[in-house]
Symmetry: D3
Subunit: 316 residues, 6 copies
């Protein structure tokens, strides 16, 4: 199969490929016949699929996290594509396909991300900030390199969080060149730690949801607490840097309505908020436009105030 | 002089009493003559005062935190009362007046407040919540019994915080009787701790302002961190009670716009928010109506959405 | 059948019980076969049900307000439970089931509610307020004891209005003990009359909807008019109490956006608003949490700003 | 004196004319000398005036509602004109000046307004609406022809309310011609009664303020009650016209935030709201532009969303 | 068949008439059978229709813009009427039906609209304004007389734009009589040009959608540019009238949130905005009430803040 | 005098320096003596000054745009510094001071700004965009290099607009390196033209105010028109680049409430908006923090949502 992947498939196309089952729901037609609704995914996106006249065996075979070989055709249902399954079987060892082939991943690999992070920490000169950052990197190293940055909207893929951090560090480095008054160490520390609370707010790397703690506290207050505890362990809790760093994390959503009880009140906190916005928006826009033809609009993007963006023709 | 105090004085009245200097500003008249603008206070309120033709000696004598004997008359200036000082001298040891006589205090004394707190803790049955509350009471005992609950608006007097807590505990006790599904221990713990972060957010008991930490983090995130650290010290950090208690503190302002990144998502958190509102509003209303004549309106109250309240005539 | 009732039923369960038909809609499957969609209810809740292959006889038999014996199984449809009817028959006299068995009722009976109301009126000392309240109770006695307080959200069951009033009176009694400045008679009168306009705004006790008058005027202005007319009948229209009482009713929703053209401008009006909120919210929360397992969240509650509430595990 | 009046006076001009004292405040200069601040008015506007070195006799002579002969010059003070009084004396009988000369009046006289009202009522065909309108006109005839429509912003002059009603009737008559589906009787009745509650909301015709009843209830709910009582007196309370008329009054501010608990839900209610807006805005704009030179902007107008309007040059 | 048209059809009625196909979507039933969903329309409205068991021939025959003879019955589907097609055939030349019979048209014909426009321009006296208006009428004459004023909500029918303009001119003429300070020429010019940008914002007269230019710029900025270019062509770009006219177009939506970067700052701009509102609202209300029975409410109207309007009974 | 300038002066300091008169107002003391209020400025800031006992000669000598030699002392007046003038004289030719010494200027000189602009245009590859940009630069070259970017808030100094453009171009260049999907030519063209409408919206380079055209249309619609006219002159009006460029200018304020009738709907439009925010905010923050001591807060900054920013101590 030479398809680009399900994220690029159009209505009317035939499909014949391996996909991962993300969710399964049983249904009954008005004629009383059972069917399965599956959400299938590969590394490029997701699609709703219908398996009509499903048997008890089908129900037992096709469960979440399984990989299947599926052929069918893509119809339109209520304005969205839907896959009608014509043939399906579970994957076999000889197929040589793996769950990790079916999840979206950052375009940069883990080693490269790790290296970029190390490089940034190496550039830092303020010992207090550097020690705190190092301690957190060490504590969360494993998860940090694989977690998504969010459950949806932007960087919602494997290693998304690290990818987001590394892109933000690159912007910060350039802004510091253009506006040398900026304190680069503060920016670096704020960028690396700003979303680390998500490692405890989100349940995991693949089928990501919110933990109870995440729902009741949220990643921002959880991270304020973590920095406080870490600063005590490192015996730097009296340093002003700790307070400023906590403030940067606390305020990085920019406004109370967006989850920051204090707005940015330190220059680098304001800049952290703007860099976060810039990278998150470009990540969403670039990926949506990549799936859009010149002269057309993307789908409406919830996290971009529900706007649909136009891809100009003249660039072709 | 048998006046009720400056908070009850009317335009046109003569004044002859001791007062505390809160602030002093130097000015020069258009004729080039120096004068002093003083903010004076006693236990019932504050007034702006003018000392015309002030000498260098006056400047040296009349400084903040000093007590003075002052006589003068109350004029109207831009719609607000202003004291024109006719005679003034510093207080002397033989006057037997003390700074504590000139600050507003809770209508219940420290011992009674302490007793009510102890009583509530004694009623608690959940050991985790009780231990955390006890530990905080011990840590902050001294400040807790003297701090105001706020710099202005409600309970903004000595022991105001403890007075607010004790009133809220009384409401909680009755609500628990009426709605026995409520978890009283959670309510008590939430009430006692909800504003404890203010002990670090506010600079002190008398001329209260915000600390840097208070401005950059605010009392709510500071308290989340404190509970986290305290729970570790008591080795109960894995208990669900800790998470729920942190959530109650985090959400007690009710809405993101009002400083709570999460709204109440636990029943007792919602009730804590409502009891807090109820007691704060009644404190403001009762004190404002106490200074208002029947058939008239109070001054506009900023923290009550800028409303002026009417005091009915028929109650006389 | 030992089920707790349809409000507690889970997907996958079999159902075999009596239920009341609330609504019926005819439909046709894509294969052209007729079916009926019924909304069924018992005293604990409602469910959508499907009767496939419905005959003309079925259509004639199964109409709103009829009681049926139904067996079937609960499926999931678009994330909500749906009952697939396997067998159904109309109830018969020998079944000894009655419409009143299938509507939700206040947990306190009419006589007890009546008694609590009488008790509160007896406590009142202000003759004007007492006479007005007595006259309204007499005028609306019958409906007052059976109407719901609303069509949905809180106290939306038989005798819900009286239940809401009686709970609010209990809170008011306690608050008056804790804050003796409050005028208890005003609070009692405001509480008893605040929602009485709903008796004309809502169409009835069971399948409640809005009257034309209710839609065009709303219960608040209707009640202002009623109090004015009643005061004339009792020849007390010049008393200030009447004005204050009208103001309390007018302002009890708290804000213009919520239907009160004037916000509370009298202390007891503000307290009435807060007690109303407190009781309405606790009614909603207690009933929703009662149907939720520890460690889980309730459904999103529209009238609680669309929040889902968590039921802690540690209370078990 | 050939001045157009104080509303048209410019900074730098000398003044020598009769004016009415609206308010007086005593003050003391920093040099200890007493002075009077007077708000003076004539039929075209108001001005702040200063009488320096005021004697006890001055204080006794120059009190509100007195007419004075004053000469002085207009200075600028904090961006607003201020009259420095050089000479002043009370008016004498021989001056032949009267309070009514110094208040702003509608540009149409009472008799003409009365005639237009009678004409409109005569056009009405629906007996219920006509009887209600007639009864109210009879009840309030005296005040209706002299009251202002508001304390400020639009039609805030003697006979302003009747002037506003008569202008709105003229618009309604034309709209009914252009859109014959409109029910003219409903529109006329709604227009005549829509602001009649202001006769009880405002304290009087000249130095107008809000009554207690006006502050606690507002003219809209007061008028709903009045219509209800009047309908009973006329024994038409069961007619649908009464309900629709009450709805029109209730909704004529258009939105809950603007004081209408129900938005317009009947076509003529919506049109009443729009006609009210149209006439109020044109009244404000025409009067403000009348005092503005071509090529310049009016002062900011609070009731026009704080906009300043431009008067084009090309129209000259 | 003597039906009034599909806009007046009720659930349960049989249909047998010619209709125009607006849209077609293919679907597959759960049993795997193909069907067609058609949106059909006549001059009075639209309806969803289902053609079950559709063949390949059906798909080829029934395409958008085709006229068909259809019989069937109207069912209810999710609360909205849906036509079940029992028999259908394409129209034939002998049927003598035309696309123009199936689109909604203004109640006034093109010639009459043209005449009214000419009349208004003839009344204008300001040469600059008159020349600009004439030039635009000439440029857009053809489209201006057939375009709708919008894709939905108000005047969304053939010649809707011209109908809207002509109605607004009639209101303006009357307002100018009542308030002679108004500059009639400015009003006329503003009214005629205010929505002319829609001729480029909307794709056409029948199945109207937004052009790319319409989506990226919107009709208001497009018209500002057009007036600027036209003024240059007429060599009047230095006249103040051009600036005022551009301002009127720019501000005619009234508020920034509604698409006007500047609010009205000239009297006639404010009046243009109000007349636009008045005519658009009356157009929507009259058409909705025309389809509503006395004593009932219209459907909720999105562009009227989602209100449903009541049609009084007493008018019958 | 070795002062850093008036922007850095503290209360209590003596002043002896040359300053430029920005505004003059005459006043009269309560004792009847004339005085002058002057707003004086140098290259670092402004101050209010009082010249007591001003003579007619003073009035004639000290007029706006004059340079004076002034000595005096800085007092506090209503919380803001005020200069009491002790001695003053007009500057003389021998003083060798010039108006241009007393206005704030960009930290980069005109030639350098010009060069940076030329460099960016040279990098552009799209001929349509490049030609349009070149044509505008040529048309406005003189003003573009000296105008401020705003009347207040950010880049409100001589050459402020060009400085803002050049800083934004530098950010765009770096972002294009990091996110190569971005169309650099579009970004460059959007940045250079985005605020060019201000050259017609603002009255001039020094005492800047809004033109009538600026008030009635605003710089955004004015620039849309200008681009349209320029595109016609260059005969590229049919190119899609023109539409996209107009959209970028139109949407660069981000939201309708902020003056953009369309939000950004093209990727580069969104990025233009973000770069504009980033540079404007950093300009404001850097300049405010430069005047603030470590450990203190800046004044509240209106254009930063009225926040006061903290300058950390640890950076010292």
């Amino acid at each position: 199969m030479q398809q680009k992947g399900i994220g690029y498939a159009n209505v009317g196309e035939a499909i014949d490929s391996f996909m991962l089952i993300k969710e399964v729901t049983k249904g009954v037609t008005s004629g009383g016949k059972p069917f399965l609704t599956l959400i299938l995914r590969d590394a490029t996106g997701e699609i709703d699929a219908k398996l009509w006249d499903a048997t008890k065996e089908d129900e037992a075979l096709f469960t979440p996290e399984k990989i299947i070989k599926v052929s069918g055709e893509i119809n339109q249902f209520r304005g969205k594509p839907q896959l009608k399954i014509l043939a399906v079987r579970p994957s076999q060892p000889t197929d040589d396909v793996h769950v990790s082939d079916f999840v979206e991943k950052a375009p940069v690999n883990k080693d490269a991300l790790q290296e970029k992070l190390t490089e940034a920490i190496f550039e830092m000169k303020n010992p207090t900030l550097q020690r705190i950052v190092r301690a957190f990197i060490k504590k969360y190293q494993e998860d940090l390199l694989v977690y998504p940055a969010a459950t949806k909207n932007h960087h919602e893929y494997v290693s998304g969080l690290a990818h987001h951090i590394v892109s933000m560090l690159a912007i910060a480095r350039e802004l510091h060149q253009l506006y040398p008054d900026l304190n680069r160490d503060l920016l670096y520390a704020g960028i690396i730690l700003h979303d680390l609370g998500k490692l405890k707010e989100l349940s995991g790397m693949v089928t990501t949801s919110y933990t109870i703690e995440g729902k009741l506290l949220g990643h921002i207050p959880m991270m304020i607490e973590e920095i406080g505890i870490m600063a005590r362990e490192l015996q730097v809790e009296e340093k002003e840097e700790v307070l400023i760093l906590q403030h940067m994390i606390l305020s990085h959503h920019g406004k109370a309505e967006w989850g920051s009880p204090k707005p940015p009140l330190v220059r680098e906190a304001e800049v952290l908020h703007l860099i976060d916005l810039m990278d998150a928006k470009l990540n969403m826009l670039n990926r949506a436009l990549d799936k859009t033809k010149p002269g057309e609009f993307t789908e409406r993007m919830f996290a971009m105030d529900n706007r649909a963006f136009y891809k100009p023709l003249f660039e072709e």
